[in-house]
């Protein structure tokens, strides 16, 4: 167990990746995640790792593809506009069954947008990270410690399932400083990657890491096989935190920064006797609909809080499946909601529940 230190989210994330055995980072500067790259550029050369500033996010994600294809743990980090540039590469990484860690420190959008935090890339992360039928693992930390823990899981599960993983952070989490314990060493054995394109040393048939399957039936079979894997992941890897859920009639669903703000609002409302609680998704894909399902019997209304115009609300509505009303509170453009605003919304809903 390492000692407790005060660290900025972006930097803790980088250090955690190194501890997890990732010694290869390819990235491009963009606010508000440039600290990840800067940290890696200082640390990696000292431990025999590779830090390379690429010429763009397009190049970065393709370098990640190459390094992953050769069998090493590799990551990149970016923010919303940069993620758009990585869509193509992410699709190819998924289509080639490669693991890779992609960090998105979300900022205001669309377009050049702003540099303040947002959660407006939820759809991009869970629905449309690239063309074609595929998913990537998506994790949503809400504390600096969670960033550290989830980085490690993202690498382990990415290698296990041979798929890309994303940590969906935001500008607030990336910049904040909290006490954190960084593990001293990785918590798993490096897996054997017999499929890697790393030079066959004349000891085996040549490996081809590829996403082109020109025969439709072959491609369909492959994609179906992947989706069986995804079904298994949906069954076994859903994660969420339940806060004050035992008797909650108003159920807030929020992740990342909005969950922190919501927690304060819940504490205030509870002091006033309102039965409000929160389901905080930690995996956004697979979406923790089991937790939502279990909350339905006691719940009277769901309130989704997001820093966007409402993206995760789609998944909540799917999970609630019409059984209960699903309300929304959101701010966007880089504006962070205050506990007071959310508390106000909760009080409005509480009035409705009473009637």
């Amino acid at each position: 167990m390492g000692e407790k230190v005060l660290m900025k989210g972006n930097e803790a994330l980088a250090e955690a990746a190194i501890v997890a055995g990732c010694k290869h980072f390819f990235g491009y500067p963009i606010t508000p995640q440039t600290e990840v790259a800067a940290y890696m550029s200082k640390r990696l050369p000292k431990i025999g790792g590779v830090y390379l500033q690429a010429e763009s996010e397009v190049a970065s994600i393709n370098m990640v593809l190459g390094a992953s294809a050769s069998g090493v743990r590799v990551m990149t980090s970016t923010s919303s506009p940069g993620l758009s540039l990585m869509s193509e590469g992410i699709s190819y990484i998924a289509g080639s069954d490669l693991p890779a860690l992609i960090i998105n420190v979300q900022r205001g959008g669309p377009g050049l947008g702003g540099i303040q935090p947002s959660q407006a890339d939820y759809w991009q992360a869970t629905r449309s990270s690239g063309h074609g039928d595929f998913h990537m693992l998506v994790f949503a930390p809400s504390t600096v410690q969670e960033m550290v823990d989830l980085v490690s899981d993202a690498f382990t599960l990415g290698d296990k399932y041979r798929m890309p993983a994303m940590i969906l952070s935001d500008g607030m989490l990336g910049q904040m400083m909290e006490p954190v314990v960084i593990p001293e060493s990785r918590n798993d054995e490096p897996p054997e990657k017999s499929w890697a394109a790393c030079g066959h040393q004349n000891e085996r048939e040549h490996n081809v890491v590829n996403s082109l399957y020109i025969e439709p039936h072959v491609l369909e079979d492959l994609v179906r096989e992947r989706f069986e894997k995804y079904s298994e992941i949906k069954r076994t890897e859903q994660r969420a935190e339940e806060y004050m859920m035992d008797d909650a009639e108003i159920v807030i669903v929020a992740y990342g920064a909005s969950s922190r703000v919501s927690r304060s609002a819940i504490d205030t409302a509870r002091k006033e006797g309102i039965k409000v609680g929160m389901i905080r998704p930690i995996t956004l894909w697979p979406y923790p609909d089991k937790y939502i399902g279990e909350a339905i019997p006691k719940a009277k209304v769901f309130l989704v809080v997001e820093m966007s115009m409402g993206q995760m609300i789609d998944d909540v509505k799917l999970a609630v499946n019409g059984e209960r009303p699903v309300e929304f509170y959101g701010r966007t453009g880089g504006v962070i909601p205050t506990p007071r605003e959310i508390h106000q919304k909760v009080m409005e809903l509480a009035e409705g529940v009473k009637q």
Partner: protein, 249 residues
């Protein structure tokens, strides 16, 4: 009887899908012969690009990675930085290397990325049916320049070797062709040098092979060779544009 010419080990037994007379086949063979002669098949990783040669991963016996269109130099960078002891090459056409992939090409060269790039310049987009390429000649008729490439509208062809030769990270930039037995032998020497320099850690190496596309040029293989000699070689002169060991800078 001794066999004095046969298929190199670094080529698989899968027959090429290329058109009759397409010079891709000659260049694939030269690359494979060089890999055999240098004894590096076991530690070579090739990066296939997108174009007619998209199935290159089926033809080479070394480990292969498929890259998105234009991104092969970045993918190759990822492989080489992760496995510096491996020999990494890309095999790209003119659209892949000089249109969509121009950024990746220039920056891999600027970084002096220690890789070998085989560049097939046939002045046209083959796989997609014969559209204009960045290397299409002024006046050349293609599917998207049906009246001949008008430089006022569609700009000028890019001479890649000349362009890259000004970059310090480039160890070697050579332009060759495969129109005659003599030139095929010269091309092979150039390809060998481009791999040898990678083994010596000298930087980025590119071999631009002026090639034919009989199908999309609308010519027989023999006439395509003549068209190459008459039209392409004057615009894309053969030679060494950069060689750090020979002092050509």
């Amino acid at each position: 009887m001794t066999v004095t010419f046969t298929k190199p080990h670094a080529l698989t037994d899968i027959p090429f899908h290329y058109c009759p007379g397409c010079t891709h086949g000659i260049v694939h063979r030269l690359v494979a012969e060089v890999i055999d002669e240098l004894g590096i098949e076991g530690k070579t990783v090739g990066v296939a690009s997108v174009g007619c040669s998209v199935f290159a991963y089926n033809y080479f016996n070394c480990d292969m990675v498929q890259a998105p269109h234009g991104r092969a130099p970045a993918v190759a960078t990822g492989v080489k930085r992760a496995r510096p002891e491996d020999v990494v090459f890309t095999y790209q056409g003119d659209g892949d290397l000089a249109a969509i992939g121009m950024g990746e090409t220039v920056h891999a060269a600027a970084r002096g990325e220690n890789i070998t790039v085989i560049f097939i310049n046939n002045a046209i987009y083959g796989m997609t049916g014969g559209q204009m390429a960045p290397t299409t000649l002024p006046g050349q008729i293609t599917q998207t320049t049906p009246y001949g490439r008008d430089v006022k509208l569609a700009g000028y062809p890019i001479r890649v070797c000349e362009l890259l030769s000004s970059i310090d990270g480039v160890a070697s930039a050579q332009r060759v062709t495969v129109d005659t037995v003599k030139n095929v032998n010269v091309a092979k020497k150039a390809i060998k040098k481009a791999f040898q320099y990678q083994l010596e850690g000298l930087g980025y190496n590119i071999v631009e092979v002026v090639s034919t596309c009989p199908t999309n040029w609308g010519l027989t293989p023999k006439d395509a060779v003549k068209w190459l000699q008459d039209n392409m070689l004057p615009y894309y002169p053969l030679g060494t544009y950069r060689d750090v060991k020979e002092g050509i800078l």
